[in-house]
Amino acid sequence: MGLVKYLTKRFFAILVTISLVLAVGYVLIYISPGTFYSAANMGQGLSQLQVSDPALYTQYLNSLNSRYGLNQPLIEQVGKYVWHSLSFNFGTSFQNPSVPIVHQLASALPISAILAFGAIGLAVALGVPLGVLAALKRNTWLDSALTSVSMVGQAIPAFVLAVLLVLVFGVWFPGILPVSGWGNFGEAVLPIVALSAGNVAVVTRYTRGSMVEALRQDYVRTAEAKGIPYRRVVLRHALRNSLVALVTVIGPTFAFTVLSTVWVEQIFTIPGLGTLLATAFQNKDVPMSITSVYILSLLIVGMNLVVDLLYRVMDPRVKLE
C-alpha cells in the first residue's frame, strides 16, 4: 500500500477514534448528576444569584446555555461539540471563561510534552544500553541485578516514585534539586526521573529479551563468520534487529507515560495539561475536561502513528496496512 493511501486510512481511523472519545466523554458528563454548571467555579455564583435575583439568573442561564449549545437536542450537541473540537475550536472553559481554552493549552501542552518525551527519551537512552549489557552478560550477577531492579521499577507507579523523590530531595537532602514548580531546567529533572524509571525498566527488560533472542539468530553467526568485529556484530546486526521489536513497545509505553504525567504533575505541582485535566474534572468544567482528554489522546494516537511508521522504516519486511 502506498504511503499516501496508508496515511489517509490512518487519518480517518484516528478521526473516528477521537470523535468517539469526544462523544463518549460529552454524553457521560451530560448524564452525570447535577446541572452542567453546578460544580464549576461559576456554579457558586449562579446558585447565589438564583436566590437573590431569579430573573437575572434565568437570563444568565439562558445565555450560557445558548453559548454552550445546551438548549439543543443531545445528539445535535454532541455532533457540534465533536465538530468544534476536531476543528480545534474549543471555546472557553467554565472555570476561566475569559481565557480561551486554546491559550491555556498553549502554555500547558508544551510542559506535558517535554515531560512525556523527555521520559521516553531518557528511558531509551538508558534502557537500551542496560538491556544490551544484561544480554551480553546474561546469567551473571550483573544480569540478575539489572533484571531484578527493573522488575521492581516496573511495579512502582510514577506517582509513588514521585512522592519518594519529594521525600529524598525535599526532606533528606534539601536544596539539591527543586521538588515542585516549573520554569527552569532543574525543576524538570525530578519529574522526568520519576516518569522514566518505570520506562527504563520496561526498555531494559525488553531490550535484554530481544537481544538474547537476536544474538542466537543465524544471521549473527553469519556476521561473525564474515569476520566482522564483535562490537559491530552486536550493534549493527543483533541490536539493529532488536530495535525493530523495541519500537513496537514504545507506543504502549508512551501512552502510559502520558497518563503518568497527569499524576506526576499533581505531585510536583507542575502547571501542565495534567493539572488542567485534574482541576477541570474536579470542578466538572465540561469543556476543559473533555478538551484536555482530547489533547492527551491526540498525543497518544499521534505517537502510535509515528511508531508504526518508524516500525515500517526499521523493518523492510513490514508492509503498511
Partner: protein, 318 residues
C-alpha cells in the same frame, strides 16, 4: 479469591487437569519471588478482611488533640492533620482497595470473557463490531474513560469500582477471542470433532481449561493494575472521597505533607509499593507456571517482555 475457587472448580470438573495443576504448582514453587509475593498477598488479603475489626479506630474518627502526631506507641503510623490514626487508615484502605480492585478486575473479566467468547465463537458481524471496539479501547488509555465514569457516577466504593472495571474488558476480550480462534482451528479440536464430539463438549473439555488458565493469569496482572488506576484516580482528586480512606489519597496528600510530616508518606507509600510488587511477582509466577509456552525464548518470554508496557499502557483502553 473468587478466581482461585474458579480454577479449583475446573480441576474438579476435569480430573485430568489435576496433574497439570500440580505440575503448575511445582513450577510456581520454584520461583522464590513468586512464593514470597504470594505470602505478602495472602497477608494483605487477610488484613483487608479483618482490618476493620482490628483497626484501633474507625476510619472517620478524628482526634484534633493529636493532629499530625509522629509515630508513637499509641499511633504506630502517626496521625494526619485531622488526627486520623494512620494505622487504621491503612487497614481500612486495604479493605477498600480489595473491594474495589478485585471487584473491578472481576467485572472487566466477566465482560471481556463474554464478549471474547461471543466474538470468537460467532465470528461474522458480532466479531467485527466487538473487535473494532477492542481496537478503540486499546488506542487510548482506559483511565480517561474512568475519569468520565467517576464524574458521572460518584466517588464512593461502587461507582469507583464500576469506573475502573468497565474500561478494562478489552484486554480479556482480545485474549479469549484469540484463544478461541486458535483452538477452533487447532488440531486438538479438529481431532475431537473427527471423533464426533459435540460443540458443547469441545468447549467444556478443551476450550474452558485453556481459556481459564490464560484468563486467570490476565486477572492476576489485572488486579495490581487496577490498584494503580484506583490510586491514580485519587491522585487527580477523583478517587474515593474522604473520609473514605484510600492509598491514593494518602500518597497524594503525602506529596504535600511530606516536608513537615514525612511519616504520613512512609507507611502508606511503602505498604502500597510492597503490595504492588508482590502482586506482580505472583502474576509473573503464575504466568510462568500456567503458561510455560509463553516463556519460550529466554528467561523473559514474549508476553513478559514489555509486559507492563502492554498491560498498563494499552490495557483496557478507552
Amino acid at each position: 479469591m473468587a478466581a482461585i475457587t474458579a480454577t479449583a472448580g475446573v480441576a474438579v470438573r476435569a480430573p485430568r487437569r489435576h496433574s497439570q495443576l500440580s505440575l503448575a504448582w511445582r513450577r510456581y514453587k520454584r520461583n522464590r519471588l513468586a512464593l514470597a509475593g504470594a505470602v505478602v498477598v495472602f497477608v494483605y488479603l487477610v488484613l483487608g478482611l479483618i482490618g476493620p475489626w482490628v483497626a484501633p479506630q474507625n476510619y472517620a474518627t478524628t482526634n484534633f488533640l493529636y493532629a499530625n502526631h509522629p509515630p508513637s506507641l499509641r499511633f504506630p503510623f502517626g496521625t494526619d492533620n485531622l488526627g486520623h490514626d494512620m494505622l487504621s487508615q491503612v487497614l481500612w484502605s486495604m479493605r477498600n482497595a480489595i473491594e474495589v480492585t478485585f471487584g473491578a478486575s472481576l467485572l472487566s473479566l466477566v465482560i471481556g470473557v463474554v464478549l471474547g467468547l461471543w466474538a470468537g465463537m460467532r465470528g461474522g458481524l458480532a466479531d467485527m463490531v466487538i473487535m473494532r471496539l477492542v481496537d478503540f479501547m486499546f488506542a487510548i488509555p482506559g483511565f480517561f474513560l474512568s475519569l468520565f465514569l467517576v464524574v458521572a457516577m460518584g466517588y464512593t466504593i461502587l461507582p469507583v469500582l464500576l469506573a475502573i472495571g468497565i474500561p478494562g474488558w478489552a484486554q480479556y476480550a482480545r485474549l479469549v477471542r484469540g484463544l478461541v480462534l486458535g483452538m477452533r482451528n487447532g488440531e486438538m479440536v479438529e481431532a475431537a470433532r473427527a471423533f464426533g464430539a459435540s460443540r458443547a463438549h469441545i468447549a467444556r473439555l478443551y476450550l474452558l481449561p485453556n481459556v481459564a488458565n490464560s484468563v486467570f493469569v490476565a486477572f492476576a496482572f489485572g488486579v495490581p493494575f487496577d490498584l494503580i488506576v484506583m490510586a491514580g484516580l485519587s491522585v487527580v482528586g477523583l478517587g474515593l472521597r474522604p473520609p473514605l480512606p484510600s492509598f491514593g489519597n494518602m500518597i497524594a496528600q503525602a506529596g504535600t505533607n511530606v516536608l513537615g510530616y514525612p511519616w504520613l508518606m512512609y507507611f502508606p507509600a511503602a505498604i502500597f509499593a510492597v503490595i504492588l510488587i508482590s502482586f506482580l511477582f505472583v502474576a509473573d509466577g503464575l504466568q510462568e507456571a500456567l503458561n510455560p509456552k509463553a516463556d519460550e525464548g529466554g528467561r523473559i518470554g514474549r508476553q513478559r517482555r514489555g509486559g507492563r508496557a502492554r498491560r498498563l499502557g494499552s490495557r483496557g483502553a478507552f
